[in-house]
Each structure stands twice: as C-alpha cells, then as structure tokens.
C-alpha cells in the first residue's frame, strides 16, 4: 500500500496504545501529521511485534524500539538508524509497597530482598549491570521470575516488581492507594545505570531514499511530543489517548501523562527527542558485558538523527 501512495506511512509502535505513545497519538489526533502532508497509519506493537523486523520487511517505514533492541538488531546486520530518542529516562523501574519501613533508595538496599525480573527482558540487563557495578553478589538477594501473574507481588512474596513507571506504575499506585498503602519506585538511573528506552527509528533505505519524508516525519513526531507534554493540553491529550485506549479511565491517563513528562523532557536546554550518545554507549556496553551482543557495535553511525 505504501508503494502505491507515497505519502502514506506505516508507523509501528513498540507496545499497545498507551501513554508511552502519547506524542505519536497526539501527532495523529491533532492533525500534525496532516499538516506535514503525511498520511500515517499507526499500528500497535506487542510481544510478537517488532518494529525493526517490520522495517526490514517493508511493512512499516518508521517505528519505535528500545535501544537494546536496536543495538542487538544492528549487531546482527539489521540496517536501521535512530532519528530521535523519546525517553530520556528509562520508564522501567521497580515498584514496591511502602510497608514495614521498606525503603529502597540505593542499590545496597536491595540486599536481602526478593526482586522480580523478567528473564530475557531489559529489566534483567539493567538489574545485572547494577549488581555488577555495585559489586553486589546475586546471592545476596532473591530473584523472582516475573510473568503476567502479579499475585506473588500482591501477596508480598516478592518485594520489588518491575513496571513501566508511567503506565502500570500509575495503575498500581492507584490500586494501592485504594487499599490505603503507598507506592514507591526504585529508579536504576539514579544509581547511574542509563539504559535507553523508546526511540524513533527508520530503515537505512528509507533514510537514504526519502530524506524529506524522514525529516518531516521526525519533526511531526517531535512536535507531537512537545504538544503532548504541554501541561496546558493535558486534558485534550488524555482524551485522545482514551479514545484509542478506552480501557484506561481519563483520570488515570492524566496522571500517566504527568509521570511521562518527567521521563521525556530532557534536563538542561536540550530539546525533546535529543539523543543521549553516552547513554547509548552505556547501553551497548551493558549488552556486551552480558554477552547479549557478540561484538562491539559502533554506535555513532547508528545515531543519525533526522537528515539535514
């Protein structure tokens, strides 16, 4: 379809419609894409969906993937480039219930606790590099293999549970509040582990052959994110997201937007979407150290940004 209509674009998200795609949804719903002359078909992601594969198969022209996905794919010869880094702080954090004086601020506080990890997921990579960096032996704490069943956490069998802070984090927080309990988060980036999350990517082919579309699209996405993160537009953005994700009440979405803002807007005077090369390199090093990639990938050509 994209071949027949050159203005039409398929955009593959990393996950389902939720606040992590707030800017993308806003760009669509508020007509930013249209104002750039783009017709965009946004498609949800999922466990079986992989934007990088879709790019290679020509099923999508743009997509969202986390840095570890990108680096791993490039290590295996995938030809993709990064246009923008949406999340400056990885939303993947650990939630815990503040009860019995439990406080986890520093990595050392993890000792003796039972911590949920998704084996094979990037929370595993983050936790492992944290433990390595702070020389904590994995024997000092208990790891629990996480899957879609949350009961071990609710029952207190597991102390810390990996969540996306801006999504499940908010929902769980609400649930706990209803139960009269307070939710806290442990954020690995405060301990210096910077593992890059969602970024905007495209294939090298599209990048080379259709620079204008790439430039326009990137700019539209960033404009979308700027709009979505604008506190004044919060309720309209929330409504737009709710239309696509009717399962989540608007009140929750608004809280999620607030949480997302803190993760997306860069410190200092850098603009939304700024690529943090050092964080990418750290991500690469973590993957390399844990044997998740076989060789040292050169990050620099990867982080192309929008074409001039």
């Amino acid at each position: 379809t994209s071949k027949r209509n050159p203005g039409s674009i398929v955009y593959r998200l990393k996950w389902l419609y939720n606040v992590s795609a707030a800017g993308d949804i806003w760009a669509q719903e508020s007509g930013i894409f249209r104002s750039y002359g783009l017709t965009v078909d946004i498609r949800e992601g999922g466990p079986e969906q992989d934007a990088i594969k879709d790019l290679e198969l020509g099923r999508a022209q743009f997509g969202v993937a986390s840095a570890d996905q990108v680096i791993r794919a490039v290590a295996k010869g995938a030809r993709v480039v990064v246009l923008a880094q949406i999340f400056q702080i990885n939303p993947l954090q650990w939630i815990y219930i503040k009860r019995n004086g439990l406080v986890v601020k520093r990595p050392q506080d993890l000792k003796g606790l039972c911590i949920g990890v998704t084996y094979g997921g990037n929370d595993e990579a983050i936790l492992m590099s944290l433990l390595r960096q702070y020389r904590i032996s994995p024997d000092d704490l208990k790891l629990y293999a996480v899957h879609c069943d949350l009961n071990p956490f609710w029952r207190g069998k597991v102390d810390l549970w990996p969540v996306y802070k801006n999504i499940e984090g908010i929902i769980f927080q609400e649930k706990m509040a209803k139960n009269g309990e307070q939710a806290c988060f442990f954020d690995p980036s405060t301990a210096g582990i910077r593992f890059v999350a969602n970024s905007l990517i495209t294939s090298k082919k599209v990048y080379m052959e259709r620079p204008k579309v790439v430039r326009d699209f990137t700019e539209a996405i960033l404009e979308g994110w700027r709009g979505a993160m604008d506190p004044r537009k919060k309720s309209r953005v929330a409504e737009a997201i709710h239309r696509l994700d009717p399962d989540t009440p608007i009140s929750i979405i608004e809280k999620q937007i607030d949480a997302t803002r803190a993760l997306v807007i860069p410190r200092g005077n850098r603009d939304i979407g700024a690529i943090d090369r050092r964080a990418w390199e750290q991500t690469r090093d973590i993957l390399l150290a844990q044997g998740l990639i076989s060789h040292r990938v050169d990050i620099r050509p990867l982080l192309a940004g929008p074409p001039p």
Partner: protein
C-alpha cells in the same frame, strides 16, 4: 430449546464459578488486588460492556471463519492422508509432526510471514482447532464400512467421493460431536492469536487486562466469551441435527 438449554447451562456454570471465587476471597480474606469485588466487576461491565461485546463479536466472526477453514483443511488433509501412496503418507507425516509445535513457539514465524492482520488470526485459529478434527477425520476416512462398500467395490463403482460419503454418513454423530468440540477450540485459537499479536478482539482486551493485572476485566471478558461460544455451539449442533434428520429421512 437447545439454545436456551445451553445458555442456561452456561449461566449456571459461570455463576457457580464466580460464587466459588468470592467464597475463597471471603474465607481467606484476600484483598481486592487478588480477587476483585462483585461491585468492581459490575462497574467494569457497565463501563466497558459495549466495547467488550464488540470485541467478542469481532473475535467470534474470525473464529467462525477459522473454524470453517479448519474443517475444509481437515477434510482435505484427511482425504489425502488416508491414501497409502506417498502423497498420503507425506501429508499424514507433515500433519502429525507440525502439530508437535506449540503455537506460541511457531507464532513468531507466522507473524513474520503473515503480518499481524486478519490472516494471522485466521491461520492460528484454524491451526489450533484443526488438529482434533484431523485426528477424527483421518480415523473415520481410513476405516472401511465393509458391509456398505462391498457392493460398490464389487461393481467397480467405488471412488473416493463415495467412500467419503459412506464413511461420513456412518459416523455422522461422531463428526458432529467433533465439529462442535473443535468450535470451542477455534474460539480459543482466535483469542490466543489476538493475545499474542493483534489490536482487535477480546484476546486483545484480555492481554491489556493482564498487563494491568485486572482480574475484573478478565472475568467480564470470560463471561462474554462463554456466552458467544455457547451460542455458536448450539448453532452448529442445531445445524448438525438438521442435516442428520434430512439425510436419514427424519
């Protein structure tokens, strides 16, 4: 009548199951995290009811189509698979061996080739429900009904269509049972496909609910799934009965 009966059965089972769940909740004093309160379930039903009904209808449509495909597929494979020549044994072998792979493992390859559209959902639904069908069909098609076929064989009239007709007719009850049974599997298959990769249908709803650890939503979804399945199954049963009555002359 059959439909009412099935519906009644379904409601009873569902209510008993819910009752048990809540009994457990009360006895063990589980929090609302673990098992949602009746109020929450009702609220969810009120808020998302229409949305979920649409989703489950969408799923059912795909499931019915997948079921049809599976029946045609199983008949075809069963027909070829009953031969003793090499295409027959090859088909049998492939059919049996392919089934050894769980769909969750094969799904990545299916999605790789078919994308995440309707075709993947259909294919997965069909694959999941076709195996029980195939098993029965190969069994039924391969077993001669000697007393009836003798005449046709003797007079040189026998052909695969006639054999198929005779063996199907003699085993009509079994075939209807299997088709009804596999109907539920078609539903299951579609939901699994949606669960793994789709942005429509009730399986997609369940996936989202699971990520939010929202059992109330799952309970509402299960209710609708059960309802749709019951209706579909009684429909097939009715059709089966009608066909049988037609063929055997009431």
């Amino acid at each position: 009548m059959k439909i009412l009966e099935r519906l009644f059965q379904f409601f009873s089972i569902y209510i008993v199951a819910l009752g048990l769940l809540w009994a457990v909740k009360i006895v063990y004093g589980f929090s609302d995290y673990l098992i949602p309160s009746p109020l929450e379930v009702l609220q969810i039903a009120r808020e998302n009811g229409l949305l979920y009904v649409k989703a489950v209808l969408n799923t059912s449509a795909v499931a019915v189509a997948g079921h049809m495909i599976a029946i045609v597929l199983a008949t075809a494979v069963g027909l070829v698979g009953r031969l003793n020549s090499w295409p027959g044994s090859l088909t049998r072998i492939a059919a049996y061996n392919l089934q050894a792979y769980p769909i969750v493992a094969v799904a990545p390859i299916i999605f790789l080739f078919f994308g995440d559209g309707l075709s993947s959902r259909l294919l997965i639904a069909a694959i999941i429900c076709y195996f029980p069908l195939l098993l029965s069909f190969i069994g039924i098609f391969a077993e001669p009904v000697e007393e009836v076929e003798h005449f046709y064989r003797m007079t040189g009239r026998i052909n695969w269509r006639l054999e198929l007709a005779i063996r199907t007719f003699e085993n009509l009850d079994k075939i209807i049972t299997v088709i009804v049974g596999s109907g539920t599997l078609a539903m299951v298959g579609t939901i699994v496909a949606e669960f793994l990769a789709a942005s429509q249908g009730i399986g997609y709803v369940i996936r989202k609910a699971l990520y939010q650890s929202n059992l109330a939503k799952i309970l509402v979804a299960l209710f609708l799934i059960g309802l749709c399945s019951s209706l579909y199954l009684s429909l097939i049963e009715t059709i089966g009965k009608w066909i049988k009555a037609r063929l055997t002359g009431e």
